[in-house]
Every structure is written in structure tokens, then in C-alpha cells.
Symmetry: C2
Subunit: 211 residues, 2 copies
């Protein structure tokens, strides 16, 4: 059965469940995975630095490397079409000038704004501690991760965000520079083979204060 | 003009812009803000702990307290209907048993699964360092923040996520326990009074590796 695309926002958001078991006969093409990631990347990020990076694990060899690092999530790794390892790039400033140049080329920003921005943002980043930069990047990588889970559903797929894996080994296992790429989460993606569990939520009164 | 609700996923996601200037004649009711937060809270979180907490600043007094702490975002603070300060609750385990009890009551979980979960999650949290717990909470609070920005658009409003504010002062300024509530971001929300800027994005090939 082909996955059903939808544009129904409420169904996408309110119907999302974490899916652990996927239909192994459905393989998402790299073209479509790229499209999903491109749409998700419309998420906002601090000073538009887009520090999110993805290792998409969709081959038998890749899955084999991942399995021992995500022992508590074996079913998702084995049955999903792909597992997307989300990282924060601790050297995302390398892309800053390119991002601003593209913005000028696309007519989103005049040259003088670019020049000012480049200076301001470079100074801002230089003034941040490693911990502050990491936190900013982790927040931004989380924003895109949420949007990615929703875009996946618009494409007819489901996901499961996973925090339980060997974060200290994941970069090296996939030949990524461990010092540069900081692990944020894993996201399995595929055609759901189960309904998933409903889960309860705290009441708004328990999580909101008014001032 | 009344805000236009929409259920068009692509329009919500792809049309989102960071909005700094809002129509000050449009005030979102606390009922509707609660509804928006409740819908956003369908976001996933690690072991469903839902460590997100919100201080919704929607009174003149609240805005006055906030303004000096968010000097670079004066326009959003002044013109938005509300600014939502997103925090991570560093003692979210206090809610664990209640969350699981509700899940049993709602028929989402048998009693024996609850008992097992309570034990497992309590052990898991006890084994985490403060830094690990903080990172987990910050990730989860970021997931709901992204979903909140999208739900706001479904309700006809726009937002601006802000990282540039005095994070070390924000909890105390609103009489929140600084040790317990860790600041994640500010989100302004209201009826847009501008189109907002388009911004460029890195190409998928720059952010994805295949394995």
C-alpha cells in the first residue's frame, strides 16, 4: 500500500504517535527523504545559522552499524525505512558567509545588510562559550526535528524520536568528526505498521503561569 | 480584522516567517492561548515527561518587566499579544506518577505497565547527570516550541522565537524558582502586522550525509 499524503494540519499534529514498527516493504527514496528534510529545514534557527546536520542511515550496512548503538530501539532501527541521526554542527559559522551570500543573491537581503550581519553574527558567536553555543545549536536542531516529524506525516510516513542511544559513539561510528558534530537525537521514519500508543498529557493549568 | 484560521499544512509550515511587528488591536484571549498550548503539547517528549513550562506574559505589567530583559527584541515585546517564556522544569520527575496515573485512567496503559514504567523511569532519571537531564529537557522544550509556532499559525497568528534575552534573570523576574526553571526561549505571538522576511536555506546536500 502506498503511503497517503495529507495536507490536513490537525490530523498531522494531533494524530502523530511514536511509531516503533514499520512496513518493511515500503522504502522511502533518497529523493523523497531529501524533499522531507528540505521542507523541514524551513524551521527557524538562531541568526539563521541552520546548525542542523543529518546522517541518514538507510542501507543494510548502516543499520548494522547503528543496531548495537541503539539497543533499546532495535525494532525501529530494523523495520524503519531509514533512521535519521540529527547532529548539531559546532562549527556552523563556516557556513555563515555562504548563507548570507545566498540571501543577497535570492533578493532577500541587500548587500549592506549582509555585510553588517556578517560582522554582528561573527562577533556574537565569538563571544559565546562552548556551552552556550552548544545549547543554541541543540535547540535549533530540535526545532527542525519536530518539524521533520510533522513533514514526514504530510508525506504519509511516521516517526519515532529516540534519545536512548550511545551518543558518545554515534558520530565516529558513521565517520563524522566527533568534536564537530554533537548528537541531538535519532528519528526513525517509515510507513507505520501499527497504530501506536496514545499517551496522556499534563493539563494546561499544570504547565502555564500567567503574568 | 479577525485572524484567519487555517488547516493547510503546507501553508502553515512553508509560509511561516519570524514576525516582529504585530497588530496591537488584536488580543488573544487566555482561553485561546491555553488551547494553542494544549494542542502544541501533543508534541513528544523523552519518556513522556513533558518537562516544558510556560510563563505567558500578556499584561502591561508583565511586558514592562520583560522589556529591559529583551532589549534587542523590543518591538516584538511591545506589539505582540503575548510573549511566551519557555522553560525546562528541572524537577519534572515530580509529575511522573501523575502522568502515568492519568494514562491508566484514560485507558492508555494497564496498571502493571505503569508500575514498571514508574520504576524504570525513576531509575533512568536518577542515573543522569544534571547536564544530561538539562539537555534532555531543553530538547523536549524545543520540540514543543516548534509545534507551538505552527499551531499558532493554524489559529491565524504568527510568532518569533527569540534567544537574545537575559536568560539568567528571566525566571526570577517572573517569580519563578531560578534553580528549577531553566530558560529555553521566548516566543512572541500575535496577529502579524507585516509580511516578514524570507530567508535563505542551505541546500540539502550541505546538511545531509547518506550511510
Amino acid at each position: 500500500m502506498q503511503p497517503t499524503k495529507t495536507n490536513d494540519f490537525n490530523e498531522i499534529v494531533l494524530g502523530r504517535r511514536s511509531i516503533r514498527s514499520y512496513d518493511q516493504s515500503v522504502k522511502i527514496s533518497r529523493d523523497e527523504l531529501s524533499e522531507i528534510i528540505a521542507e523541514a529545514s524551513k524551521a527557524p534557527s538562531s541568526v539563521n545559522l541552520q546548525p542542523w546536520r543529518f546522517v541518514v542511515i538507510d542501507t543494510p550496512e548502516g543499520k548494522e552499524t547503528l543496531t548495537p548503538l541503539a539497543k533499546f530501539n532495535k525494532m525501529q532501527v530494523e523495520t524503519s525505512s531509514a533512521v535519521i541521526a540529527v547532529f548539531a554542527d559546532m562549527q556552523s559559522q563556516e557556513y555563515l558567509e555562504g548563507i548570507l551570500t545566498t540571501a543577497v543573491e535570492q533578493g532577500f537581503m541587500p548587500q549592506e545588510v549582509k555585510d553588517r550581519q556578517l560582522k554582528t553574527v561573527t562577533g556574537l558567536l565569538a563571544g559565546m562559550s562552548h556551552e552556550q553555543l552548544k545549547e543554541m545549536n541543540v535547540i535549533d536542531a530540535s526545532l527542525i526535528s519536530m518539524q521533520l516529524m510533522l513533514v514526514a506525516r504530510a508525506h504519509g510516513y511516521d516517526t519515532n524520536p529516540m534519545g536512548g542511544y550511545e551518543k558518545d559513539k554515534i558520530a565516529e561510528a558513521f565517520n563524522m568528526d566527533k568534536e564537530r558534530y554533537y548528537p541531538v537525537m535519532l528519528l526513525s521514519i517509515g510507513k507505520a505498521n501499527e497504530e501506536g500508543y496514545s499517551s496522556s498529557r499534563l493539563d494546561v493549568n499544570q504547565i502555564v503561569e500567567w503574568r
